[in-house]
């Protein structure tokens, strides 16, 4: 396999986007970067720029204002790309299902590869979700993880 495909799997760059979440899951995504969970040991790096990212981690339900932003970000990420919806409200709208400004889960706007449930999703679950996404990516590229 090529060097690019390997590095994409061994050191995926992640971009985190917060829709209109309650913050719980965002803080847990951030907590993944800190010493106790430390995702950097898997080569995972958090990025602010969509053009550098391989994996898009989305928290929170899509609302009418962020839908456009989310779609735009997704389109800017170069393929092959993975989308992870984190938290119950990111996967389905969850507790916000009857709020007027909420459209629902992330999959209402962009295709989602991995769903991480939990309200808030635990850091372990989020890391697990990223690993699952990488396995999927490996299969897609036809290489071993």
């Amino acid at each position: 396999m090529g060097i690019i495909a390997t590095s994409r799997l061994k050191s995926p760059w992640i971009m985190h986007f917060d829709n209109s979440s309650c913050n719980g899951c965002d803080i847990e995504v951030l907590a993944c970067l800190t010493p106790l969970y430390d995702v950097e040991r898997f080569g995972i790096v958090n990025m602010g720029n969509p053009k550098h990212a391989d994996v898009l981690v989305v928290t929170g339900p899509v609302n009418r204002r962020t839908a456009r932003v989310l779609k735009n970000l997704y389109e800017q990420i170069p393929g092959p790309k993975m989308v992870i919806a984190v938290g119950t409200c990111g996967t389905s709208g969850g507790v916000f299902h009857n709020c007027y400004n909420v459209l629902g889960g992330v999959d209402k706007v962009i295709p989602v590869d991995v769903y991480v449930p939990g309200c808030a999703a635990r850091p372990e679950a989020i890391i697990d979700g990223v690993v699952l996404a990488l396995q999927k990516l490996a299969k897609l590229q036809g290489v071993a993880l």
Binding site: N23, L36, V69
Partner: protein, 360 residues
């Protein structure tokens, strides 16, 4: 005169995990005007609270904000209890107080970490968050969840803290205090920190009141005002004195939060010592009656204001939530003009913005 440019700050910005946009009007490096654009996090929770039955709103209110989640739930219960009014058992009051202070401890550690990160002190950020995990651990042990604790119900609390847990919590809290002291000493004495914060974003006593600030932001300008002095829950029994600073700048805000971090730990230890035995919850009779109530509770970021109006049905007629950041954001309109572009992130961070709260 130098030409003016408009630079957007956000909605995605490294110091803010959440989306907010500030349109900064710049003259070279100096900010001359600012217009905040919010609304990225608006969901419509107040309306949904009218549509849901009142016991279900607890879960919704807890998800107004994931950092002060426990306190949101408690305040919602508090305001609904006031509609009857319904007295909660003393043990429940103490437990609420303990969990509220635990939430404050982890929230202030979180903020101190973000502040360190904003200076580029990345290792310090990591250290603060490492300590914070210990607080989250005891939260998880006592409530069942790290972030969304969901312990309050209308009439009291849902879970108890037993003696083993109590002993463990006390040990951990003492440990956290010791570790935090070491870090805070660096933060408040370091000269680079001072260079970046002292005299930045100054608000005088009168300005602070005119702007309607709340929480540490208000107290850093010398106003001795804290909702906990109302003595709700167990605060009336505990020895408690608001922490104030007089500088009114970003450094004073950090100093107030550092003080409150220790104070929160002391309050928990004191409350654990005095924890009375007894029931966990009182049972509400029937639906909330046609009445109005207001509840003001001190969150880590300042005063949260709940207004509820019942009408005798299972649904509330109106619930209004004003979160601390909602009160603190307009102060950016005054603090930012005149500062340098490089200082914007620190000044914005100094109000401890929590956007999902603000927009609900």
């Amino acid at each position: 005169m130098a030409p003016r440019t408009i630079t957007p700050f956000g909605p995605q910005h490294p110091v803010l995990p959440e989306p907010i946009q500030l349109k900064l009007e710049l003259e070279d490096e100096r900010v001359v005007g600012v217009v905040p654009a919010i609304g990225y996090g608006h969901r419509g929770i107040e309306k949904a609270c009218e549509l849901n039955e009142y016991p279900k709103n607890i879960y919704l209110c807890e998800r107004i904000c994931g950092i002060c989640s426990a306190i949101h739930g408690m305040t919602y219960c508090d305001v609904v209890e006031k509609l009857w009014p319904l007295e909660i058992p003393p043990r429940a009051s103490y437990l609420r107080t303990i969990w509220a202070e635990m939430a404050r401890t982890h929230s202030h550690l979180l903020w101190l970490g973000l502040l360190a990160d904003a200076f580029g002190f990345e290792s310090m950020f990591m250290q603060y968050w490492r300590i914070r995990e210990k607080v989250l651990d005891i939260l998880e042990i006592t409530t069942g969840h790290r972030v969304t604790q969901s312990v309050s119900i209308v009439g009291g609390v849902r879970r108890d803290i037993d003696d083993d847990q109590k002993k463990h919590c006390i040990e951990v809290l003492k440990d956290v205090r010791k570790e935090a002291e070491a870090l805070n000493n660096v933060l408040v004495n370091d000269y680079t920190v001072k260079a970046r914060t002292v005299g930045k974003g100054v608000l005088s006593y009168d300005q602070a009141i005119a702007l309607g600030l709340c929480g540490p932001h208000l107290r850093a300008s010398g106003v001795k005002e804290d909702c906990r002095t109302q003595g709700y829950w167990a605060y009336g029994d505990l020895s408690y004195e608001p922490i104030v600073a007089t500088g009114g700048d970003s450094f004073s805000r950090a100093a107030v939060r550092v003080g409150e971090l220790y104070q929160a730990i002391d309050l928990q230890l004191e409350a654990f010592g005095k924890l009375p035995e007894g029931e966990l919850a009182a049972k509400p009779k029937g639906n909330p009656p046609a009445n109005e109530a207001v509840s003001r509770v001190e969150q880590p970021r300042g005063e949260v204001f709940y207004y509820a109006k019942g009408n005798g049905t299972r649904n509330l007629e109106r619930l209004r939530v004003r979160t601390p950041t909602y009160a603190n954001i307009p102060s950016l309109l005054v603090m930012l003009p005149g500062c340098e572009l490089a200082d914007v992130p620190i000044i914005v961070l100094s109000i401890d913005p929590c956007i999902s709260c603000t927009e609900r």
